[in-house]
């Protein structure tokens, strides 16, 4: 679900605002605090993303939220030029990256950095743009992200 925000102070056209479900509320609550969390099966420890009701491995519905490192590697990307939504008119061209997270799932977010290549080491974090959490990735080399 998405609503379009109409209560932002910005004069720019509003961006779409995620509307959490009971299942996904903890993800967005953590995002507001700047933290990327992932759903983990409480029975078999498999991490899954995007959030869903059952573990596809063991079919348990018991799950908890675990913090993600944000570390990962570039899987692919696109540079967005056409404005498909007025809320992004001031952003084009902007880059979306698909990232293989160390935790074994992927995330999609905005790219802040230079030229891209498959396998490039990156780190993602939630930042607040207005009052909306935005997942932003940038180049990162640490001993933990090899």
């Amino acid at each position: 679900m998405v609503h379009t925000s109409t209560d932002l102070p910005s004069p720019m056209p509003a961006k779409p605002v995620p509307v959490p479900s009971a299942l996904t509320q903890p993800y967005w609550d953590a995002a507001q605090r700047g933290q990327l969390v992932l759903q983990q099966c409480s029975a078999c420890a498999t991490i899954r993303h995007y959030p869903r009701l059952l573990c596809a491995q063991c079919h348990s519905s018991e799950a908890h939220w675990t913090p993600a490192s944000g570390l990962g590697h570039i899987h692919s990307w696109t540079v967005c030029h056409h404005v498909f939504h007025p809320g992004f008119a001031a952003d084009v061209p902007y880059v979306l990256v698909t990232v293989d997270l160390q935790e074994g799932v992927r995330a999609l977010g905005r790219w802040r950095g230079g030229p891209l290549a498959i396998g490039l080491p990156v780190r993602g974090r939630f930042e607040l743009a207005g009052n909306l959490p935005e997942l932003v990735f940038s180049f990162e080399t640490t001993p933990n992200n090899s």
Partner: protein, 385 residues
């Protein structure tokens, strides 16, 4: 038992494709449906099965009301976007083969001009199939299909060396076919330079890599093979048909192999059912939402190895007169976008020998694919009777 040759496409119908139609989606759908039923030599009230494609215009009940169908025996929905028309061939063939009904109408109409929020970017976020994208990607700017598919294409380019020139070749081939079709929106030839000069939409997709937004209706009738002989047209058999779904169908981002499609799972089933191979095909109608999608599907169908789709098409084999004429109506890229039901119509027309200037000489066997939502796939192999 398999579905091989148990059902035939017996009727085809299309409206004029256009932009800015003043008819509603359902009006366009009714017009195409009546044309398909008349083409088959049937009366509207003889339709006893209906599969409306998408949930954007008429329902099965609407067809009972408008056609005065006395006893509709079969209706179903196939909610998989552009894969739905070819998946519906499987549903219809199964229904008539089992004797559930005799004549199934598969029908679609759309008017993207009429509604306020119908641009591709807004439209998909009203669809349940896109709920992951809508919640977790749309807020960051992944809005329209071009932006969702572009990372698949980019990865294919990086891993295998596929180029913009390969994409352009698909666009040019579709355009050259469209110029032989009076009911195609695009009327002017394009060159490699035109492609490379067209504005970037979502890198690597330029404007000429993207399918059209258009208004229109298309419909077909699928009949039990043993009843098709009494109808008006030469029989066109459904010799092989199958559907397949990719892993992580609801989010390309989470798909283990981002470049894999549902078509890879179902293509072997369809070829086995029909008892033929890719090399037996006289022509193809490949779902072409984006140029890249054609290249990738040719790999999944087994025409070439994975990663070799670009070089495979670079010699012009998809063009009119080429070794493998593809999208002989112009496709979604240059004819019109009616979720690929126009691809089924066109393949049937070709196998009947009714394709006019676009006719592939001696066409006896061809295949049509559907590709929906973010990677659901289907393929049907049709044979001239």
């Amino acid at each position: 038992m398999t579905l091989k040759d148990k059902a035939c496409v017996t009727g085809i119908g299309e409206t004029v494709y256009m932009r800015g139609s003043t008819s509603s989606a359902f009006e366009l759908q009714l017009q195409a449906s009546l044309a398909a039923i008349a083409d088959a030599g049937l009366k509207p009230a003889q339709i006893d099965g209906v599969i409306p494609i998408g949930i954007v215009s008429g329902t099965a009940d609407d067809f009972i009301d408008n056609f005065g169908i006395p006893d509709l025996k079969f209706s179903t929905l196939v909610p998989h976007g552009g894969a739905s028309p070819v998946m519906a061939l499987q549903s219809a063939a199964a229904a008539v083969a089992a004797g559930v009904c005799s004549h199934v109408l598969i029908t679609f109409g759309r008017n993207v001009t009429a509604a306020a929020l119908t641009r591709a970017g807004a439209r998909i976020h009203t669809m349940p199939a896109f709920h992951f994208v809508t919640e977790f990607e749309y807020p960051f700017g992944a809005i329209a299909p071009a932006q969702l598919y572009a990372p698949m294409a980019r990865r294919h380019m990086e891993l295998y060396g596929t180029t913009e020139a390969h994409f352009a070749e698909v666009a040019i081939a579709c355009r050259e076919h469209a110029l032989r079709n009076s009911n195609a929106l695009m009327k002017k030839p394009i060159t490699l330079e035109d492609h490379h000069r067209s504005r970037m939409i979502a890198d690597p997709f330029r404007l000429l890599d993207c399918s059209l937004e258009s208004d229109g209706g298309a419909a077909i009738v699928v009949s039990a093979a043993d009843q098709a002989a009494d109808l008006r047209q030469r029989r066109v058999y459904i010799s092989g048909v199958a559907e397949g779904h990719p892993d992580s169908p609801g989010a390309i981002t989470q798909r283990p192999d981002m470049t894999s499609l549902g078509l890879a799972k179902c293509a072997p089933r369809a070829f086995q059912m029909a008892g033929v191979t890719p090399q037996d095909m006289d022509l193809l109608e490949i779902y072409d939402c984006f140029t890249y999608a054609v290249i990738r599907q040719l790999e999944d169908l087994g025409f070439c190895a994975k990663g070799e789709g670009g070089p495979f098409i670079a010699d012009g084999r998809l063009r009119p007169g080429g070794a493998l004429p593809t999208n002989t109506h112009g496709g979604l890229l240059s004819q019109a976008h009616v979720w690929g039901l126009n691809h089924v119509v066109e393949l049937t027309r070709q196998l009947r020998g009714q394709a006019g200037l676009a006719q592939v000489p001696g066409a006896e066997l061809g295949l049509v694919t559907g590709y929906g939502d973010m990677g659901d796939g289907a393929v049907a192999i049709l044979r001239r009777g």
